[in-house]
Amino acid sequence: MSGPLLRVEGVWKTYHAHPVLRGVDLDVAPHEVVCLIGASGSGKSTLLRCVNVLETVDDGAILLEGDDITDPDADPDAVRKRIGMVFQSYNLFPHMSVLDNITLAPVRVHKRPKAEAAEEARELLKRFGLADKAGEYPDRLSGGQQQRVAIIRAMATRPSLLLLDEVTSALDPELVTEVMGIIRELKESGMTMVLATHEMGFARDIADTVCFLSDGVLLERGPAEQIFEDPAEPRTREFLRRVLESRRL
């Protein structure tokens, strides 16, 4: 397949008559890493939730590998099998061990044998430095460890697209780097990802393409260097200037 892996076409979403997305277009090629930046409330998270069918769009369409996933007859469960999502607040299942968190979907949704799923989960844990945490419960882990487990849990279903919704925003600064490390490794292994993030340095470092959202409109998109060095839109420039200023404080 040569077309985009994900195509967002003129998507609108309103909450209680308040428009959050106002005609967003976006293409994501296979193996591409796209970072969504923009102020809080600009629609980054809503866009990700629409792609994962956690929200229904009010207009427009979203196509995953050519299939219209916004079609009312499309099965959201089938769509989510092909997409992994990681949340800002980790959302691990507190009553399950780390290993059970990771193997739940492979075993129950993808019907893989339990032993095989567990074997694979252990390998992923080992690869990301969490081999000794397989039997622990989430509340015994640090925030950074929990978020890494959440990413592994999303990866364990072998999705063709990974959505990351401000995955470092709830973390202490010294824990952010360990989560970024795992995302960088996923990029190197060729994972297609869309990230909403407030970490500009990280976005610049990891993104193939950066998209700036403002008030529900995708105002500007381009290679990371261009967006950060020479943004075309005055509002992008203004946003980046304010972010940089707050960093200096």
Binding site: R80, G84, F87, S89, N91
Partner: protein, 290 residues
């Protein structure tokens, strides 16, 4: 607390800390002895006042008659075994019924709308009817229909009335537990591809059930007592036996014997509930668990 290996010198308690600990110990001993002394004094005063009051001999005769107690106790105890059996059979049935009703109320598929409406109507109606009224309705009303297959044992009918009444309460407890699980848990489960049913079964319900164990035990302590309501239908359970003995000599000690048995059953249950609550609290605390 032990000093971390490699981090700083080994910890030797300072003179200041030792003095603090000595004073804390002394204060502990002091408050312990004050509590003991004041308790003994209070009990002594209450006993003295009660025993020397003019009505005491009659109270003693009517409620604390040892002869009556030993005379009635074997029958009351035998009757109490029926209460325990009603309770033991009703309890699991109530749990299953309550859970099913709570799940039915959560159904969103339009196909199941009648089921959902039925569940709402059931909880509304049966939580509103006084339990004793329900016992009369079921215990006397159902057999009066003279339909085939309706059991004629008053204990079974009474147990059935209790199931109807408590099923409604327990359904609400389960529903509260399910509602208390944060929507982000469901979102996480769905985002992994789990269906609605799978999310409920593997993610929401296990957490919800754990959360509602203390209120459920509370309802069951209440159910243990309410097995005595079946007495109005006439089976020879504890309260009925006490009534019979009491009516023979106009003495109320048999009732007291019955009360003792019920308390002996509910108090351990209450302590167990407390124990679970404390454990849950400890688990929530930072560094808790195990």
């Amino acid at each position: 607390m032990t000093a971390q290996a490699g981090g700083g010198a080994a910890w030797v308690k300072s003179e200041r800390q030792l003095d603090r600990e000595r004073r804390r110990r002394r204060a502990g001993v002091r408050s312990g002895s004050v509590a003991a002394a004041s308790t003994v004094l209070c009990v002594a005063v209450v006993v003295a006042v009660v025993v020397t009051s003019p009505g005491w001999p009659r109270v003693h005769e009517t409620f604390f008659n040892w002869g009556e107690f030993t005379g009635a106790f074997p029958d009351v105890l035998r009757g109490f075994w029926l209460n325990v059996r009603i309770f033991l059979i009703a309890e699991p049935v109530i749990l299953v019924l309550g859970l099913l009703v709570a799940l039915a109320r959560g159904l969103r598929n339009p196909l199941f709308f009648p089921l959902r409406a039925l569940a709402v109507a059931y909880t509304d109606v049966f939580r509103g009817i006084p339990t004793i009224l329900l016992v009369y309705l079921v215990g006397f009303g159902l057999p009066a229909l003279r339909l085939q297959g309706i059991p004629d044992s008053p204990a079974v009918l009474g147990g059935f009335a209790l199931v109807l009444s408590y099923g409604a309460y327990v359904a609400e407890v389960f529903r509260a537990g399910i509602d208390s699980i944060h929507p982000s848990q469901r979102a996480a489960a769905r985002s992994l591809g789990l269906s609605k049913t799978q999310s409920l079964r593997f993610v929401v319900l296990p957490q919800a059930v754990r959360r509602v164990v203390p209120p459920l035990l509370n309802d069951f302590a209440s159910l243990q007592k309410d097995t005595a309501l079946v007495a109005v239908l006439g089976p020879l359970e504890a309260l009925r036996q006490a009534q019979i003995h009491s009516a023979a000599n106009f003495n109320y000690t048999p009732y007291l014997a019955t009360a003792v048995l019920f308390v002996a059953l509910t108090v351990p249950m209450a302590r167990f509930t407390d124990h679970l609550a404390v454990r849950a609290e400890r688990r929530r605390a930072p560094g808790g668990g195990t």
